[in-house]
Amino acid sequence: MRSIHARLALTTSAFGALLLGALLVAPLVGSTSISLARVFDRSLPFEDNVDAQIFFIARLPRVVAGALVGGALAAAGVVFQALLRNPLAAPGTLGVSAGAALGAMVAITFGLDISLAGLPSIPLASFAGSLGALGIVYALAAARRRGQSTTVLLLAGVTMTAFFSALIMFTQYMADFTDTFRTVRWLMGTLEVGGYAPLVAVAPMLLLALVLVSSLPRSLDLISVGADSAAARGVDVVRTERVALLSASLATGAAVSISGPIGFIGIVVPHLVRLLVGSDHRLVLPASVLFGAAFLIMSDSLARTLFAPVEIPVGVVTALTGGPFFLWLLLRRI
């Protein structure tokens, strides 16, 4: 069996190469054909260069968004599954996604029009909503006594999701048609985030989440075997769980606030990766981030081109491609 060093190097380079490939190919793909030569033709002023405009203004932000959102959701999925010791956990399980949706809903219905740090009102309100949900969950986690199972946390998350969803449905029912339509659109999720500004705005949050998450993998391994045995081996279980909760929720909130909820990545990418590299979180976490990013970028490219000029919601593509592929992998294993 190869050493962990070798496996880590192999895993990161393999998935890294996949992501690199996606990053290079995706901006070249789209409903309009553009010429790469013309894109980088300096002799043409930018405002006149349609190809360059399409490349840099329309496509590149989507590709970067795909990388950030895909990586964030995949990482959150890995961490939540380990934290809750449940393979069915997903970024939305603890209600952070629902909080983000409620925030967006409020901004849409009440026509909020404030922007902060480059984030227009809807992503801003959405992020605020996710922070609110995170606050509730964190308080619940802190109030949990040592030794209490994660079931309490899970139930609280499910309840909050249901509660927020009910609020959203209620508001939709009472709102006028346009607002309802816009909420439904938002809930479908999209990588058309509206330029680089939102990406720059959430980057610090995602960076913070990344830094927090990077200290977790080995501890998550031990905790997933059992909280008691992890503590007996020197893991600060309480601190690890709090950092895990915070980082995964932050990543989810930041991602969902700019792209809307995109399903399937947070729950399936970790499992797909585990089928390929095993359960060691030191491999699963970086591999999932890289693969999640690549997967979302590729799904968005498909969404943009499959029925051109009409675009399908990217969440539909992730579900329709990821699902059968995952099933096939599972069947092979059995």
Binding site: M1, S3, V225, V235, S279
Partner: protein, 260 residues
């Protein structure tokens, strides 16, 4: 070595203490069994002994220093804990699980090197689990999984092994395997062991010294021969039992006859 002085522990929102002034000393090389009925406080005591649970009053000292002054990792390098069952939600390979035992020596960021791998393999050799190295944990039987759990604890290079009901889920054949393994570890590797169990016969076979606990209080503390009497069995389990030394096996056997 380990010395506990009058530890008491009360769970929040309960009136009865789980442990009431339990005072036990453990010396190097001891093979100590904590014996008692279900709910008597055995697991709680083990967790306090291992430092993962803080007593409500009193303290535990290791090498004459209170556990509260030790860092978690330092404790883990001396004391290893084997839980009753190992059922992770994600399937790890046996080697992966055993290597997790190196955590107290490596910390969060360091990766295992050849030395760690060697120690892990030694641990697996000692527990007869080398053949399982690449197998998934989920594909092993209960007895095999228990041996792997012990290997994982051994990989910590501890001086003390704490085992919580090591044979509770095992049949008589696997029990015997574990019993032989633990005896060998104690004798050949000078491993100090404290294990909790409610199985009288297992305790009688394996342990040289027993501490009887009922309702959080120590009933008796001494060598197995001295402590395992019909009177004590009655006091512990409310059961009339026949206690005598087995002619062929050489150790005490306890057979319940009727209720008190």
């Amino acid at each position: 070595m380990l010395l506990t002085c009058d530890v008491s522990f009360v769970y929040r929102q309960r009136d009865q203490p789980a442990l009431d002034r339990v005072s036990v000393n453990v010396s190097r090389g001891d093979l100590l069994g904590i014996l008692g009925p279900n709910g008597s406080g055995k697991t709680t005591f083990l967790r306090i002994l291992g430092g993962t649970l803080r007593p409500s009053s009193g303290s535990v000292t290791l090498d004459d220093r209170p556990l509260s002054q030790w860092s978690r990792r330092d404790i883990a390098r001396r004391i290893a804990f084997v839980p009753q069952e190992t059922h992770p939600p994600f399937d790890f390979t046996v080697l992966d699980l055993v290597l997790m035992g190196r955590f107290p020596h490596l910390g969060r960021f360091a990766l295992e090197g050849p030395a760690d791998l060697a120690i892990a393999r030694q641990a697996m050799a000692a527990t007869n689990t080398e053949a399982f190295e690449s197998r998934m944990l989920g594909s092993l039987s209960g007895g095999e999984r228990q041996r792997v759990a012990i290997a994982s604890a051994l990989a910590q290079s501890p001086e003390v092994l704490l085992l919580d009901e090591p044979t509770a889920a095992l049949d008589i054949g696997r029990q015997f395997e574990i019993q032989q393994l633990l005896t060998r570890l104690n004798r050949e590797h000078d491993m100090t062991m404290v294990l909790s169990t409610h199985d009288l016969n297992f305790a009688a076979t394996l342990c040289r010294r027993l501490v009887l606990i009922r309702d959080g209080r120590v009933l008796a503390d001494g060598s197995t021969d001295d402590v395992l009497t019909a009177a004590h069995v009655r006091a512990l389990y409310d059961v009339d039992a026949d206690v005598h030394r087995h002619p062929r096996a050489g150790h005490m056997t306890i057979t319940p006859i009727g209720r008190v």
